[in-house]
Amino acid sequence: MLTLSVTAGLGGLLIRDILLARGPIVLRDASFIWSALAAAVIGFFFAGYIARFDRALLGLEALAMGLLATVGTDSALRAGMGALPAIAVGTIVATAGPLFRDILGGDAPQLLRPGVFLGILAVGASMLYVGLDAWTRQPLLAQIAVILIFFLTRMAAVAWGLKTSPAADVSDRVWSFWSRRGPQQ
């Protein structure tokens, strides 16, 4: 239980520092571990109470994921990486927590299965941050904007019940499109 909460909370930042080959800040600065522990303890004792605020939790999760996506993208950019690696790092940092939580729990990660509209949003948020950062040259503004947009999109997806579907097989459509333009017709 504790391990699960801590991994979900710190996994993203840990992965970021591993990918950028630095000493993990979550180990250097004890306050990270303390806050994750505190959250885990609260969850341990007040699970029933918290479950009643699932809407608020959903919002907090969305804010946290937006923040992680921008932080991850930003650290990769500051480490001198290009746009594409930065987007990859941002996505990985944002999604690592939920992914690891499910894998340690022995499930196929919720994030990868049809349903919750979240993973693709993290990719979008990282892309948006790279774009805004290059355009405005004001990382803080870009960060706030991306977090807001991420939050609003996520809430809209929840409100309208937007869900991802299993990846459709589009081969037939692509194939017929191709052959229609062929010499036969």
Binding site: I18, L19, L20, A21, A76, A79, M81, G82, L84, P85, A88, V89, T95, L99, D102, I103, G106, D107, A108, P109, L111, L112, R113, P114, G115, L118, G119, I120, V123, T164, S165, P166, A167, D169, V170, S171, D172, V174, W175
Partner: protein, 217 residues
């Protein structure tokens, strides 16, 4: 023993190998009814996962997919191909299988050379080489929430990589020409892999020696 071999693949081969990894990952994710994010993530893991684990283990700076973004493009290209042309690609599993088998030895070489380059010893280099070649499959299975198929009894995959790695490292340590040693590794690993799949040779199950002793005693 003093010179360190670096493996440089022709770009075309590199792109082919990584994209094929992405395609097979995408097909795997599709069989598990995942969504688009699942296909991209599992395709990425299958294509580049081994290298990521290797670079983390060797502490040799950021993983190679971050330092040379082309790798990331190949992997994503493969994953998207496996998604869009799923029917075509699943008819070509035999081809994917063959290409995968041909490249086991290459990944073993890349891993072993990097490990020797960072000053690791014989056994450690062999371990890193096997992880490079098989880490993608491990991550793929983990991210699909399955048992890691590499560890279940079945055809020779990790074992083929291990024999390839030992072949290369012993030849290299004995002072055989590096290029000869590299080709030996590729040929040995692929041959074991293909013979194992063609004749369905399976990895041996653990035998309980204590029973034999009990019977004879």
């Amino acid at each position: 023993m003093n010179e360190v071999p670096t493996v440089v693949l022709p770009t075309v081969l590199e792109a082919l190998a990584i994209s094929v990894g992405g395609i097979s990952g995408a097909l795997h994710a599709r069989r598990r009814q995942m969504d688009v994010m699942g296909i991209l993530v599992v395709g990425f893991c299958a294509a580049l996962g081994g290298g990521v684990i290797r670079d983390i283990l060797l502490v040799s700076g950021p993983p190679v997919f971050l330092t040379s973004p082309a790798f990331l493009i190949y992997a994503m290209f493969g994953a998207v191909l496996g998604w869009i042309f799923a029917t075509v690609a699943s008819r070509a599993t035999m081809l994917i299988h063959v290409i995968d088998g041909l490249f086991i030895g290459v990944w073993v070489l890349v891993g072993a050379s990097k490990a020797i380059g960072t000053g690791l010893g014989f056994l450690a280099a062999a371990l890193v080489a096997v992880i490079t070649a098989t880490g993608g499959g491990i991550l793929r299975d983990l991210f699909c929430g399955e048992k890691v198929s590499l560890l279940l009894p079945g055809q020779w995959l990790a074992a083929a990589a291990l024999v390839g790695a030992l072949t290369f490292l012993s030849a290299f340590w004995l002072g055989v020409d590096v290029y000869v040693a590299q080709w030996m590794c590729i040929v040995v690993a692929s041959t074991i892999r293909f013979v194992s799949s063609a004749y369905d040779v399976r990895t041996p199950m653990p035998m309980d020696v204590s029973k034999i002793f009990a019977r004879s005693g």
